[in-house]
């Protein structure tokens, strides 16, 4: 059996409900003896000089709790040993694994105001009270979120050896009437802001290395061209303005190259090109629609969608376009492959019984598992931890963005607002 078993799932009743698809977690992480680490988040100590910043300290504690919970690696308690529930976080996300009886780790925060500058001293202690991490952060008018995200990533790295995602951001297209603009939001759903104001259709943002720029398709010149918005200078540069489509960009940091869809040859083909659109190289040579490329992390292969069999399916090819192999054999309409940074999974969406399900499979097509069954899902994008995926989902009629923990089978809604949000991209840093 190809792993299509889906446990009798409750319909997603609300944005924070658990999706009981057969989680990858059961086989992957538990098999390695992985359990969530229990940690107590102590009440912040705020000394008298910083008393006016007590709310900043409390908000900071909540941000830190949310970051640890959203990493998927921790069970977070308050100092009364109750599960810590930050605003907007579902209970289902903060659940203890069966313990070994170890004493929980502990995070302490001490806020002071030396020389008039608000500072937070954060410490991570193990169950025996030994300090594992200690950092001092200066907190300015922008608030404590940046400092807390940074510390959370340090904690994740310390405890698991893996990269944290608390400082990452998600870009997406927010619809506005018949147009759409590129927006960015912190990975936890806070601080959304618009990056473009072009009053046209813009979609499919794609992060450059180090968040130095965002590329996206825009109809601002009347045709779907590819542009790059540099974050430092805020300059907008054209990258590709070939006749026809210049769409579905994906950036490979290892090769410093885009893969994208061009229809200049009369039908949709995948091309690679440099960051400014130079050295375009055609990779696919087939009259079918070939689109939606996704680089492997090393840049040696590209997963993509092709309907050369008559139905769109997921394929993979080498970076030079050779050695094309079909991965999905079921013949169900499939699109939007996304390759995880650790190289272990390709996520994509697959239409079954009229609904697009979010699925993962191995890079050779084996071991396929449904991660999200309901809601008509599209455009998955991995976080750098190779564990979380952001995607768009049409629930209750309008499309919004959701994040799923592929290993735990947990979902959360990313952003609210009545205007639809589509084509998300998760920054690597």
């Amino acid at each position: 059996m190809a792993g299509w078993l889906v446990l009798a799932a409750s319909l997603v009743a609300g944005p924070d409900a658990t999706c009981l698809a057969q989680p990858v977690y059961d086989l992957e992480l538990r098999g390695q003896g992985f359990r969530r680490v229990s940690v107590v988040l102590a009440e912040p100590k705020v000394d008298a000089a910083a008393a006016g910043s007590r709310q900043v300290a409390l908000d900071g504690q909540e941000t830190l709790a949310r970051d640890l919970i959203y990493s998927g690696f921790f069970y977070v308690m308050d100092q009364s040993a109750n599960p810590f529930l930050p605003r907007g976080v579902s209970r289902a996300w903060n659940v203890a694994d069966e313990g070994s009886g170890e004493r929980p780790h502990r995070i302490e925060a001490a806020w002071s105001q030396p020389g008039g500058q608000l500072s937070a001293d954060l410490r991570l202690l193990d169950g025996g009270g030994n300090q594992l991490l200690g950092k001092r952060y200066q907190v300015g008018e922008a608030g404590a979120r940046g400092a807390m995200h940074h510390f959370a990533d340090q904690v994740v790295k310390q405890m698991t050896g893996l990269p944290g995602i608390a400082q990452s951001k998600i870009a997406f297209a927010r619809l506005a009437g018949k147009n759409s603009e590129i927006c960015v939001v912190d990975y936890d759903g806070f601080d959304e802001r618009a990056l473009t104001n072009q009053r046209t259709l813009t979609l499919s943002p794609c992060w450059g290395s180090g968040r130095s720029w965002i590329a996206f398709t825009s109809y601002v010149e009347g045709q779907p061209f590819l542009y790059r918005l540099d974050q430092g200078t805020r300059r907008l540069r054209p990258v590709s303005r070939a006749p026809g489509l210049n769409t579905t960009p994906d950036w490979c940091a290892a090769r410093r190259a885009f893969a994208l869809t061009l229809t200049r040859d009369g039908n949709a083909e995948i091309y690679s090109m440099s960051a400014d659109g130079g050295s375009p190289k055609r990779l696919t040579h087939n009259p079918a629609i070939d689109t939606s490329p996704s680089w492997s992390a090393t840049g040696q292969q590209i997963a993509f969608t092709s309907d050369r069999s008559g139905v769109p399916q997921i394929y993979v090819m080498d970076a030079d376009g050779g050695n094309v192999r079909r991965l999905t054999q079921h013949g169900l309409y499939s699109d939007s492959p996304a390759w995880s940074a650790d190289g272990r999974w390709i996520a994509y969406v697959c239409r079954r019984d009229g609904e697009f399900q979010l699925v993962v499979m191995r890079p050779d097509g084996a071991d396929e598992r449904v991660i999200v069954r309901d809601g008509s899902n599209d455009s998955p994008a991995w976080a750098n931890d190779s564990r979380h995926v952001v995607f768009s989902s049409r629930r209750g009629g309008t499309r919004g963005l959701y994040v799923v923990d592929v290993y735990a089978g947990l979902e959360r809604r990313l952003i609210s607002g009545y205007q639809e949000a589509i084509t998300p991209a998760w920054s690597s840093e």
Binding site: K178, S180, L201, L203, S204, G222, Q223, P224, G244, L245, T247, T248, T261, T263, G266, N267, A268, I289, T291, S292, T305, D307, P312, Y333, D335, S336, V349, F356, S376, D378, S379, R394, G397, I422, T423
Partner: protein, 172 residues
């Protein structure tokens, strides 16, 4: 030759004959200066008559070129689409000054990435038919909007069927 000039010529001839008959000391007759020709008229030439009105077909209006519709996930032209395109082609051939843009559209149910390419395929299907019919390809542009610019905003088949189309825009 005008009459005056003919008279003068005869007079000259007569005098030349007489000069040749017996009189040796015939004085050379004074040269006859023909009277000056009448000064040319300085009135402007009459305006040329207006050219005949061209018998070209009128430029097409937006509603004259009908859209065509497609089945779900398909870019093939159904027989009703072919009939519509034949009529569109006839009008376009008869109205050579009209240019068009063909927009390819999809309904909301597919994926964003694939629908952009499918929309392009639908626009191209319309274009290829018209070019085969005889419309000059230079008059036709194409663009795909995928599922991003639906005509009908509902979430049922009647709306979806409206959105799976090649939409013709008459461009100036």
């Amino acid at each position: 030759m005008t009459r005056t000039m003919r008279v003068a010529a005869l007079v000259l001839l007569a005098m030349a004959v007489l000069a040749g008959c017996g009189k040796k000391t015939m004085e050379t007759p004074p040269p006859v200066t023909p009277p000056p020709a009448p000064a040319p008229q300085t009135t402007p030439p009459p305006p040329p008559p207006p050219p005949p009105a061209p018998v070209a077909a009128p430029t097409l209006n937006q509603g004259d070129v009908q859209d065509v519709f497609f089945d779900y996930d398909k870019a093939e032209l159904r027989s009703d689409a072919r009939a519509t395109l034949t009529e569109d082609g006839r009008k376009l051939v008869a109205s050579p000054k009209t240019n068009i843009t063909i927009e390819g559209h999809c309904d909301e149910r597919g994926t964003v990435d694939y629908n952009l390419a499918l929309g392009e395929r639908r626009a191209n299907a319309g274009r290829d038919f018209l070019v085969s019919y005889g419309v000059d390809g230079g008059r036709i542009k194409t663009i795909s909007y995928g599922e991003s610019r639906p005509f009908a905003l509902g979430h049922d088949e009647s709306a979806w069927a409206q959105n799976r189309r090649a939409h013709f825009v008459v461009t100036p």
